[in-house]
């Protein structure tokens, strides 16, 4: 009956940049491999680590990398490679739990503010903005000042410190989605609050948050390592990478491997989550390619 032979399929006048796929999609793959290796390391640490990470004098002290100790030993004779492998457990735990805390609280705040609008929104977001401008490290320091030094406290501190960021991101996505006609169309259809939030807003907000959360793990890992480096996070003898770096400080000229390998581990982990986040973004939103 009704034919649409004349109409062209929805094709933009400016076409997608095809080169972009080639340019960026390998990043997602590389990121995925790095993260997968990390997860495997963390799970199988007892089986793949050549030595116990905590046993002192597993070898001679401050031995340079050798066949027996691929990454050398530290000042107590502990095997650096084993410590790094076990360290991946701490790193992944801190990264994911901290993001879990900030993402869930931020999502709730941003969603409530964005959906409620009016005074609730203004007041909530103004507070969030102010906290955001304090920067994450200062909020984390304040939390540690309250809770005291320690790895778990550092993790909680990082989680709390990033809430304003996630709240802002969620809020801005909610605003964008809420102003799209499909949302109004659901309102006009008589949809209830629950339906609007859970069937219309959330499914459109969550993909972006997955991207932000993946990228967020890298920020959290960096922050945790930083706090441990400052001595505010992990405590001896925990095999935490940032803490390992800080104990290498006085030995840099004598044992540079103690500084190089933990740093490399942090950088590669962070890079992995960054690349994975970019990759996921690409998959979820082709328009963001080459950004």
């Amino acid at each position: 009956m009704t034919t649409e032979t004349i109409e062209a399929p929805a094709r933009p006048e400016r076409p997608q940049r095809a080169y972009a796929a080639l340019f960026r999609s390998p990043s997602g793959a590389v990121g995925l491999v790095i993260v997968a290796v990390l997860v495997v390391c963390a799970i199988l640490a007892p089986y793949i680590a050549p030595h116990d990470p905590l046993v002192m004098a597993a070898g001679p002290r401050l031995e340079p990398p050798s066949l027996a100790h691929w990454m050398g030993t530290d000042q107590f004779g502990r095997d650096v490679l084993s410590r790094i492998i076990y360290g991946s457990r701490l790193t992944l735990m801190i990264g994911t739990i901290a993001v879990g805390i900030s993402l869930s609280a931020g999502l709730l705040l941003g969603l409530v503010a964005g959906y409620a609008s009016g005074w609730t929104e203004r007041v909530l977001m103004r507070i969030v903005d102010v906290l955001f401008s304090f920067t994450e490290i200062v909020i984390a320091l304040a939390c540690i000042a309250i809770l005291g030094v320690g790895l778990v406290n550092a993790m909680i501190a990082i989680g709390i410190a990033s809430i304003p960021f996630y709240a802002r991101v969620t809020h801005s996505i909610v605003l964008v989605e809420k102003n799209k006609p499909y949302f109004e169309s659901a309102v006009a259809a008589g949809a209830s609050h629950a339906r609007l939030i859970f069937l219309h807003l959330l499914p459109n907000v969550i993909p972006t948050l997955i991207v932000i959360g993946t990228l967020g793990v890298s920020t959290a890992v960096l922050a945790a390592a930083g706090l441990s480096f400052l001595g505010l996070g992990a405590q001896p003898p925990q095999p935490e990478w940032g803490f390992m770096l800080s104990s290498s400080r006085d030995l840099i000229s004598r044992a540079p491997w103690m500084m190089i390998f933990p740093g490399l581990a942090i950088a590669i982990t962070v890079l992995g989550f960054n690349l994975l986040g970019d990759g996921v973004r690409e998959v979820l939103d082709p328009r963001q390619r080459a950004r």
Binding site: A10, R14, P15, V123, S185, A188
Partner: protein
Amino acid sequence: MSETLLEVRNLTVSFGRGAGRNVAVNGLSYELARGETLAIVGESGSGKSVSSLALLGLLPRQGAQVEGGQALFNGRDLLTLSDTERRKIRGDRIAMIFQEPMTSLTPVLRIGLQMTEALVEHKGMRQREADEKAREMLRLVELDDPPRRMRQFPHELSGGMRQRVMIAMAMALEPDILIADEPTTALDVTVQAQILDLMRGLKDSFGTAILLITHDMGVVAEMADRVVVMNHGVKVEEGEATALFAEPQAAYTRRLLAAVPRLGALSQSDAPRQVVEAGAPVGKTVLRADGLCKTFAGRGGLFSRGTATVAMSDVSFDLRAGETLALVGESGSGKSTSGRAVLRLIEVDEGQIDLEGTDLRRLGGAALRRARRGMQMVFQDPFASLNPRMNVGRLVAEPMTIHGIARGRDLEDRVVELLERVGLEADHTRRFPHEFSGGQRQRLCIARALGVGPKVIVADEPTSALDVSVQAQVLELMLELQQSLGLAYLFISHDMAVVEEMSHRVAVMREGRIVESGPRRAVLNNPRHPYTSALLAAVPKPDPTAVRGKIPPLDLEKLPMGPLSEVEPGHWVAT
């Protein structure tokens, strides 16, 4: 025939490479003579814009490539010139203006600098000479107080004024060719008429040839000497404008012309065309809006308030079953606000909204949601009005699920029935919105709205985002549904010809007020308000033989904007 200025031969442009290669323009050839206006007309995806950008080397830097062909200008092939040589021609011998005047001027630079830089570059003028020339051009495009305009920044000018600046800027170098890419598409119809007048005048006094790229047959008829019709990157027809409109040869051109709504086609009838035998007659009043007022507070922070804008002021109308009331107006007239207000998608400050005897403004929460069953909406942008993460089955079913109309097997059957009712297929249910074209999506929106058996559908510019041939099909569907189901439409549109085709009654809005309302035939054939007359006069006619004089300027300050008074039964005009 006079001297040929530009000769395009076998131009082929493509995007992407390898498997993703997509030919946008395929073997296009045409000639442009000195002083003539050649219109390249086509729907979206026809390659009309790409072909002209390719001439000037302005294609997006990545992805697009000219695969073959020649474009001879003064004996030189534009497509093989070096960047430097082409740059010397660009802006000097061949100038270009674009569709979006709001974004086509650099926001951080003064108008004066932007107008003079090409003069300094190509003509080697000193800044003072260039300034003098720019002022003279601004005077020619009828902008007041040129010295002040030169010091202003783009954001201080309206869209129409910016397009005048663009034209002045392009014409200042007295180019041989002006390429105008949809120069009036983003403008209101009255402004469009002024800009078209201006372009015609300048063309005659400068002897410039115009390459006009447009989708609008009315603009073509008004401007063009000759026409090239494109479809899917291929030229389907070329000819003198009068001949082409009178006797189109290609089937595509014939379909295209047939789909163009023509103002005046229904001037002898009170109702829209009957597309259903024994359709539902116009019945009793179902919706009544009374004295609606809405003022938007300006954007501001916690401690500041922006300037307020009045979106609606004392807007009243009623709507009967089986009837279409068109709300007509230009951008900022408050017509969309009114449509949203009756659905309570925005809250009005004052007034009553009465749907079949229920005062909607008194309802809250669950009662309001139930009442929404009686009234549904179809939006302008079919690409954004469907939740991208729901499949078609769920989208169409959603309103019925909400109101508990059907479930399970019964619901599935109803969805299929609705899809078929709007001309889609049953097996579309598992697909997602992005797999559909604009027209199909608009059908989906209509199917979604129909599911709950509404009495009233508010249609906010339902076809403005669609190509003209698709528009005709969607309008046809809407007429058919109205006449078989007795639906009442509140039809919001800026397009007078579409309004004539669709409506029984018309309300013309301007700056948040209704300035004239009444039976469509009375208002369109015998407008009593000067603004309505101006709107009607500004509509370009898709007929090259109809000569339109210069449109008399409208004195906006002196338009009557007071309360309505009845000039003949049912016909009200602002005083």
